[in-house]
């Protein structure tokens, strides 16, 4: 099927088989391999991307369902070679080790803070509870996201 969508601000048109997940489309067709696949059945959160402003599991959505939508992946949240404020907070707090879960953590946190810049520690914990990290023990990730709130409160949706 022919689909047309926006990925990280760029219009993309492609021919895609209905069975291809949005995650596989992003990784294999567009070569945006920042979106990671851990479980491929909705439990780990590594594949989180932002569809029309909402964080979703890209392994549970079909590429054909993304026709006409605006997709933001972790690549779309970077700042060329400079770190975005959220990334800088992750670095400062050692919120990643192997980095496998990080794209899902960044996209989830970005969607959350864009919508709720005043999210408290409980809310951040609750939201990130859907993303599995096997390395950090979560505490540094939560600290990073809490510190990043200031940047989202100041301006409208920074990168």
């Amino acid at each position: 099927m022919r689909i047309k969508l926006k990925v990280n601000g760029k219009t993309v048109e492609a021919e895609v088989a209905p069975r291809i997940s949005l995650a596989d489309f992003l990784r294999d067709t567009l070569r945006l391999t920042g979106t990671h696949l851990g479980c491929e059945h909705g439990v780990c959160g590594a594949c989180t991307v932002i569809v029309d402003g909402a964080a979703v599991r890209a392994c549970l959505m079909l590429a054909v369902q993304a026709h006409g939508e605006q997709i933001v992946t972790v690549e779309g949240l970077s700042n060329d070679d400079a770190l975005s404020p959220l990334q800088a907070c992750f670095r400062k707090h050692h919120a990643l080790q192997c980095g496998f879960c990080t794209p899902g953590m960044i996209t989830t946190a970005h969607a959350l803070l864009t919508e709720e810049p005043d999210a408290d520690a409980d809310r951040v914990r609750e939201v990130l509870s859907g993303n599995i990290c096997r390395c950090t023990g979560y505490i540094p990730i939560i600290e990073a996201v809490l510190e990043a709130r200031a940047h989202y409160a100041d301006q409208d949706a920074p990168p």
Binding site: S21, T108, V127
Partner: protein
Amino acid sequence: MKFPDFDYACPKSLDEALGLLRLHGDDAVLLAGGQSLMPLLAFRLAAPGLLVDLKDVPGLGDIGIDGGGVRLGAFVRWCEIDRNAGLAAAHPLLVEAIGHVAHYQIRNRGTVGGSLAYGDPAAEMPGIAVTCDGEIIVMGESGERRVAAADFFLGALTTCLRPGEIITGLHLPPWPAGRRWAFEEFARRRGDFALAGTALYYDLDSQGRATDAHIGVIGAADRPMRLAQAERMINGSTVNADAIAAAAEAASREVDPMEDFHAPTAYRRALVETLVARALTRAAG
């Protein structure tokens, strides 16, 4: 973990969707949020020839609140229940229970109709529908029918939906002011399916005694169910520590929990007793 091959259709009306189901019969499966169906396909537990996506069917996404109660369209997503300003007053038990469904990203996709149709015995939405005398609104080739939630769930992942039918919504009766209620569940991780849970409410008569008690449980049998014996312990009595203990004990005897990887039967039975006691204590307090 890749999906089997299938075709995809995105009908623009309910009639068109019904037509596709009629044309393709068993080979067609409805797709709503995909948060239960897609894992099933990834595990190759189903291999339909056609997915019929309901996302562009108009009129399924509304939340209605009026004197007649609450109506949730089948395509209402979990996140929309959180965001709706009127629901917390119109049906607080619904809002609290749905707060326990799944994780952030899944809540942005999963729908009321998908959960009802899937019929997971531990799912919150079917539990609320059964506890609160809900009615499930179903559209088929021969028109609309309304099924009491109590008759809708036949067993684990089994409902009375007939081939070719589409759930269009759920109706919950009005919620009187002053009603006592609580929801409690236990899951290994917030957002995971509950090992067991309870939703309950009762009203108070002029003497302060409980009437019309509804005590429902999830994860405690092959489908959500109400506990008639536990309700009997509460109806007509002052909800004090003795009544609560008696009702919780009755509840643990009345349920029929399954044994699985996560917990043995005895554990779930004990959990039901604890959760019903906790919920009644909160409701009374």
